[in-house]
């Protein structure tokens, strides 16, 4: 019963969304929605597919929001997607052509009212001065309005359902954006002139699709697609660009070539990669050494209060990481920070590359040693006591017995956990971003800081102040996938028991 109800809700939701999605031309979202519904129907409407009934929900989410984004990242790494290249080529061509409008003596003129939709898109409402017909137009095209669709007062459209009309002051404010706005028509485009007037002019540029060329009809100059850097532009035979507007294009392996051959980027990349490895390995070694030492010290039947120790040492592990990191970031302040004032030092913790790295490792030690302590305690308790006794009887001292018997057994047990911890720290964005922001930076390379690890570097390339470089950042992310995959393989090998998954 519940099953039928749930399926009904799924189908109903998809059906209800369909008209809106189709009208907005969001065909990808529409297709995905119906594929999900179809998978659910096939799985749950029949009595067969017993196993699938239990696997489908999680798998769907995994595929949609983990696997697909990973594949999309790899695909994106072969494009120049980013600031200045967000549009498709068609959109860019249309914009360049529409912007070449000039007014002719016989150009029709319109009374203009500017309105916005609920998501902030512009719409021109026009009344032809010669014919008094009313139109609505945006970058998709022009549409004649029926009498009911809009209210016309004194030759201007003053209201239309679903639109907010701008006051002249607001139109003035939106000036720079409106200057780029043109409504394409059959033989030209309509553009704004003044606050309340628009004209239909002829475009001087024409796009010839077969030749993939834009022709200036006054001078007959031909602008062809030319690659300059990692972007494509329309440019004439001397390489002079017609417009600074570019578009999203495939660049093959250009991003990877740049990462490995541009000496400045390569230098930064290798340094960051090296530090990522040192940071991850150093964190694991430090936390494990301290955690193991503590476990050995406290895991002795004669030590009383073990439960108390464990409860207190659990604290750093239990507190949400971002809170601890932000608290520690205050400790490292040079003037007022707790560490300098308690120790009497005057170390510039976060401003000096060496000390910033030391600060990161110290913080990560605090965050991670309780986990290693708990893990090592568990592993120690799993080693049979007879083994140690036998070694002691054979004449081995306490430390020799530990080194020769306990430690090797322990390492076999915690090996997979150490590799997992390495992989976790390899991508430990929070610690780096919240403590040092990847810095300190040098002026000659503001993209790559001294304590950046690969993931924080990637995020800065994509979302940092220097402008979005999605394509290039995706290439670095793809390299991260490969490295993480190698780490995963290493962990597979370390976990021998997996060979007999049953």
């Amino acid at each position: 019963m519940i099953r039928i109800l749930c399926l009904g809700i799924a189908v109903g939701t998809a059906a209800a969304l369909t008209p809106g999605l189709a009208a907005g031309r969001h065909f990808v979202v529409l297709a995905v929605a119906w594929i999900v519904v179809a998978v659910l129907l096939v799985t749950y409407a029949t009595r067969r597919a017993l196993v699938a009934k239990y696997l489908v929900p999680g798998t769907l989410l995994l595929v949609l929001f983990t696997v697909a984004p990973v594949l999309a990242t790899v695909q994106m790494s072969t494009t120049n997607y980013g600031d200045g290249t967000r549009s498709t080529k068609e959109q860019t061509v249309a914009r360049i052509v529409a912007n070449s409008v000039v007014q002719a003596p016989d150009s029709p003129t319109f009374n203009l009212s500017v309105a916005t939709t609920s998501d902030g898109e512009f719409m021109f409402f026009l009344v032809d001065r010669a014919t008094n017909h009313a139109y609505a137009g945006n970058e998709q095209g022009l549409k004649e309005l029926s009498q009911e669709a809009a209210t016309v007062t004194k030759g201007f459209v003053t209201a239309a359902p679903g639109y907010t009309f701008l006051t002249p002051a607001q139109v003035n404010e939106a000036g720079p954006r409106l200057k780029e706005f043109a409504v394409p028509t059959a033989d030209g485009a309509i553009r704004q002139r003044g606050l309340r007037e628009a004209f239909e002019g002829r475009t001087t540029l024409r796009y010839e699709k077969p030749a993939d060329t834009i022709v200036d009809q006054r001078t007959q100059t031909r602008y062809t697609v030319q690659r300059q850097g990692d972007r494509e532009y329309f440019a004439d035979s001397t390489g002079q660009r017609l417009s600074e507007q570019s578009w999203r294009a495939s660049v093959g392996l250009e991003n990877y070539r740049r990462a490995f051959t541009d000496s400045r980027i390569l230098g930064g990349f290798l340094r960051i990669f090296g530090w990522t490895v040192v940071f991850a390995a150093g964190s694991v070694l430090l936390t494990f050494a301290v955690g193991l030492a503590l476990a050995v010290m406290l895991n002795d039947p004669r030590v009383r209060g073990q439960k108390w120790y464990r409860s207190i040492l659990l604290l750093p592990y239990a507190i949400p990481g971002f809170i601890s990191i932000l608290v520690w970031s205050g400790f490292f302040n040079q003037e007022f920070g707790l560490i300098n004032s308690l120790t009497g030092l005057h170390v510039d913790w976060l401003g000096d590359p060496f000390w910033a790295k030391a600060a990161l490792l110290l913080l990560n030690l605090w965050l991670g040693f309780p986990y290693m302590f708990l893990v090592a305690t568990g592993a120690l308790q799993a080693i049979p006591g007879e083994l140690k006794e036998a070694a002691t009887i054979d004449g081995a001292g306490g430390f020799t017995a530990f080194r020769k018997i306990t430690l090797p057994l322990l390492l076999v047990a915690v090996g997979p956990i150490l590799v997992a911890s390495f992989a976790f720290n390899f991508n430990n964005f929070n610690v780096v971003e919240l403590l040092t922001h990847g810095g300190p930076f040098t002026p000659d390379n503001p993209d790559a800081g001294a304590t950046d690890i690969l993931i924080s570097y990637t995020v800065r390339l994509a979302f940092g102040a220097g402008g979005a470089q999605f394509g290039f950042a995706a290439a670095i992310a793809t390299l991260l996938f490969v490295i993480t995959g190698v780490l995963a393989a290493a962990q597979f090998r370390a976990t021998r028991s997996l060979e007999e998954v049953h």
Binding site: V29, L61, L62, Y309, I319, L326, G378, A488
Partner: protein, 283 residues
Amino acid sequence: MTIRWWREVGWRHVGGLVAVIFAVVPVLYVVSAAFNPLGTVVSTDVVPTQFSLVHFRSLFEDPARPFPRWLLNTVVVCAAVTVVQVFSSAMAAYAFSRFRFRGRRSGLLTLLLIQMFPQFLAVIALFTMVTELGEALPALGLNTIAGYSLVLMGSALAQVWLIKGYFDTIPRQLDEAAVVDGASQATVFFRILLPLARPILAVTGLLAFVGVIGEFLLASIFLTDTDSKTLAVGLYGIIESDRSNNLGVFAAGALMTALPVVLLFQYLQRYIVGGLTAGSVKD
């Protein structure tokens, strides 16, 4: 306290105490800062000396930092993602533990492999995806808790291995007997296995919850409107905007965020330690 005691046991306590001090100082500092009425870095000591609730009050009264709203957002995200993750994982774990089917072994290994790729590595694609989704369905776009939760649900199968390991320890005779008595597979799963697996469900639930509450990378990129923030990005904004003077307010918020989590950890301590040795990692 003989010399012999010190040599054999006493030094162990010394080491333990050093570790305890190291672990506790930052925690004490947060408590001290939260109750210190001045709330500045300069005026805050490790040991609490003053008591005032002024920062807690300010958290609930200052509309520029709507802590209750962030708390609500965080609880909604955590609850939604945790329930979906634990439930989907438990269902898949049941299939992997009790059914024999083609692709079972490779499916399990694939899951383990995918699990090692943190979802946020694909942040760029996730960002463009949510942007496009938001253009089609504004309710699921950037700056919505729903869209953010949906993306985090991509880790729906993160707990399969832990739960499957636990299911494997529950004797199959139990469900076989139920099937003989006429129970369906669904009944076996919901009525027999799930109730028996409560300890592992609690632990995986806690791990999922803690993973979500600490998620910062995606939240910092998806949730930029004040009202759509989670505690992680919200509290970060407080401390980042004025490090020396906002310490008290931040600490008060941090304390209220961490306290329930810490108590849960203490309550479930026994199970967590067991789960750790089985190989789980807190994000």
